[in-house]
């Protein structure tokens, strides 16, 4: 009995602590504005802006650039405090969706381009940025066409920091060792894979646990066979997924998998572990967006990596057309209490972004025009090569998830992953796409 009593007392105290801590937590958040108000200067109110982004790694150059500009802004505007909320990309996506659902979005946040940001725009969650683009010619600093991916009904809702294209990185040493030349056609690519396999070298890596990576490669085949804008045509219902070019693309993709073009067990590799197979020099090729350039220059393979464009498929397609990667863009919450200040901050941020990035040697694949001599600033040969490729870009297409609705996208991503593990007829894969599209776009 005595013991039971003691137990119940303990239990009660535990509950009490829970309740008390819950209450004190509430008090903390409600009282905070009061304390900051006391420090207010007579003329200007103290303001806190929340800046959500997905550069959580403080050693990463992207994070350093972001932090530098933010700190500069706060130094120039002492009455504004910018609170940085850095999360990794998946967490950030989910946090933002939850915040949007409860009308509690951060003042400044990041969204993905085109179809992925459409729900936010249609839900009226984002503020139009047309006015700050006109201020001091900020709009002209962007590469032509890039803002289209963030524009809905002539209103720009997000400003991108990156503008990338997909290329094939290759390990020059391994190519020489196996006696393989740079593939100019898709058949060459498959032959190269066979040669590498016979020499026990992994031909190409892909992080297919994150399904978009395989889809990105597949989409480049589709771009060669069907030409740019195919998915838009599907969306406008002038074409469908049963198109011969789509079916043929599935067959071609499958052909590369059957030639063991990708590493064994590719579907269990996430992005980072796949990339490290290449950057540690174990694989010959790596198909990825040019944002990966920075990682190459910091790894074992530094100095041994070259780039070439995705080859033509069956003599079709223009190698100067690329999978374009309009990256994430910074957006502002429409219901922000300090929308004007947030706009001011974003204007400052984007105006200074190219210069600060250049200084941090991170100006490859920036969405804005960068002034400066890259060679003189000590950029790596790989970075220079990538910049040269950028000069030859004659358009292209964007990723599947940036074009289609999220539900069809998931079906697509899963059926592409399925190609890695089972040999179903390409027509079935196409039909799976068509059914999902029809169900979600009635």
């Amino acid at each position: 009995m005595k013991q039971a009593k003691r137990k119940s007392v303990l239990l009660f105290m535990f509950c009490l602590i829970l309740v008390l801590t819950a209450c004190s937590g509430n008090n903390g958040t409600t009282e905070q504005p009061d304390t900051t108000k006391k420090e207010v200067e007579p003329s200007k109110k103290q303001i806190t802006l929340t800046f959500q982004n997905h550069y959580p790694d403080a050693t990463d150059v992207q994070h350093k650039v972001m932090q530098q500009i933010t700190d500069d802004y706060m130094a120039a505007n002492p009455h504004i405090k910018v609170e940085v909320d850095s999360l990794n990309i998946d967490q950030q996506k989910i946090k933002l969706k939850t915040q949007a659902a409860s009308n509690d979005m951060p003042d400044i946040t990041v969204v993905n381009a085109a179809a992925q940001m459409a729900p936010f725009v249609e839900g009226g969650k984002l503020a139009s940025l047309n006015d700050i683009l006109e201020r001091d010619g900020l709009g002209e600093s962007f590469h032509s066409g890039i803002l289209d991916y963030y524009t809905f009904d002539d209103n720009v809702y997000a400003l991108p920091d990156g503008n990338n294209i997909a290329v094939i990185y290759y390990n020059k040493e391994l190519f020489e060792q196996a006696g393989v030349a740079i593939p100019a056609t898709y058949d060459d690519l498959i032959k190269a894979a066979e040669t590498f396999n016979s020499k026990k070298i992994i031909p190409m890596v892909v992080g297919e646990k994150e399904t978009w990576t395989g889809s990105y490669f597949f989409m480049n085949i589709l771009l060669r066979l069907a030409g740019p804008g195919y998915l838009n045509d599907v969306q406008n219902k002038t074409k469908d997924f049963m198109d011969p070019a789509f079916i043929e693309s599935v067959a071609k993709f499958r052909q590369f998998i059957e030639a063991k073009g990708f590493q064994e067990g590719a579907t269990s590799y996430d992005y980072d572990s796949a990339e490290s197979l290449f950057t540690s020099g174990q694989a010959a090729m790596y198909f990825m967006g040019t944002w990966a350039t920075g990682a190459m220059d910091e790894a074992d393979v530094k100095g041994k990596v070259g780039v070439f464009p995705f080859p033509t498929v069956d003599g079709k397609g223009d190698p100067n057309e690329y999978m374009l990667g309009p990256g994430t863009g910074f957006a502002l919450a429409a219901n922000s209490e300090h929308l004007e200040e947030a706009k001011d901050f974003l204007h400052y941020f984007m105006t200074n972004y190219p210069k600060v990035s250049f200084d941090f040697k991170n100006a490859v694949g920036v969405a804005q025009v960068v002034q400066g001599d890259f060679v003189q600033a000590g950029y790596s040969q790989l970075a220079i090569d990538v910049l040269d490729i950028f000069k030859q870009v004659k358009g292209g297409d964007i990723a599947f998830d940036n074009t289609m609705d999220p539900s069809t996208t998931q079906t697509h991503l899963n059926s592409i992953q399925n190609l890695f593990v089972s040999s179903i007829p390409p027509e079935d894969t196409a039909r799976e796409h068509q059914n999902a599209f029809a169900a979600n776009n009635q």
């Binding site: 509950c15 829970l18 939850t98 729900p119 646990k209 579907t267 899963n414």
Partner: protein, 296 residues
């Protein structure tokens, strides 16, 4: 009894904090999910009331749903099958090991490790031999090359590879529970039985097993509920892939809600999960009730 003297008011005051917590953290979210499951909603824009069509789509028209349920239930069975093994090990530990606490703690160790750590560890064990996978290299070494495979990328075996890791991780947990249960049986009972000639296995058969049933039951319920809502392990190791081959109910719910942005549909799946867990608990309780009754 002291209990009679405590007024109803005092009782309710003491119960209230927990009740509030329970209602706010359990009951309200479930009701909210139930409400959203009646809508077609992407989580951001407009909500469109669709009645029970999410449920009918889930039950009749989703090629991934029933296989996911099947895998989840299969996993629950595997977890249940693990409990007798845990009990056996606990009995052996009590009987033959002089200082069993150290062993029990070591078996328990995987439980306190983060699932992410375990997942990464086993991922590298399951890797292809060419990339240093321990398991495949070991098979190669003993001459079983034909058994080697890409464990997590082969849709036929990947789900079992996942189950195995989870079973391995929680074996120590159940051993600890059973072991404690056995320790709590009074030594006097055994001594009395010894005088009557019941020793060794006989003592286990007629004393240990019947008296450990309540603890056994707890283990069972924990194992079943735990496996019905398994999520983190699958997410870390395969994220439901390749091509849905390792999808279970909770990962399907997550993927539908957050990746495909079908918030209402995801809510419907979560309601299914709640009902399934409740059913399993009730069923298990019934089962043990009848077996306990028969023993008395």
């Amino acid at each position: 009894m002291h209990a009679a003297k405590i007024s109803k008011l005092t009782l309710s005051v003491f119960v209230l904090p927990c009740l509030i917590l329970y209602v706010v953290l359990v009951f309200v979210p479930i009701s909210v999910a139930g409400y959203y499951s009646l809508f077609q909603w992407n989580g951001i824009g407009e909500q469109l009331f669709v009645g029970f069509s999410n449920y009918s789509k889930m039950l009749t028209n989703d090629p991934v749903f029933w296989p996911s349920v099947g895998r989840t239930i299969m996993f629950a069975f595997f977890s249940m099958a693990e409990i007798p093994i845990a009990l056996l090990i606990a009995v052996l530990l009590t009987r033959y090991v002089r200082k069993p606490n150290f062993l029990v703690s070591s078996y328990f160790l995987p439980v306190i490790l983060s699932v992410v750590v375990i997942g990464q560890l086993w991922k590298s064990i399951y890797n292809p031999a060419s990339l240093g996978g321990l398991l495949n290299n070991a098979l190669d070494f003993v001459g079983l090359e034909s058994w080697t495979r890409t464990w997590l990328a082969d849709p036929k075996v990947s789900i079992f590879a996942l189950f195995f890791v989870s079973l391995w991780q929680y074996l120590g947990y159940h051993i600890l529970i059973q072991f404690t249960g056995i320790q709590n049986i009074s030594q006097e009972v055994y001594e009395a039985a010894k005088i009557d000639g019941a020793d060794g296995w006989k003592a286990d058969r007629y004393i240990t097993f019947p008296l450990v049933v309540p603890v056994f039951k707890i283990s069972m319920v924990l194992a079943v509920i735990g496996s019905l809502k398994v999520f983190d392990m699958v997410m870390v190791m395969t994220a439901g892939g390749p091509a849905h081959a390792t999808e279970v109910i909770s990962t399907l719910m997550y993927n539908k809600t957050f990746a495909a942005l079908e918030y209402g549909y995801g809510s419907a799946i979560s309601i299914f999960l709640v009902i399934e867990c409740l059913l399993a608990t009730v069923l298990l309780n019934k089962l043990f009730k009848s077996s306990e009754d028969s023993m008395e």
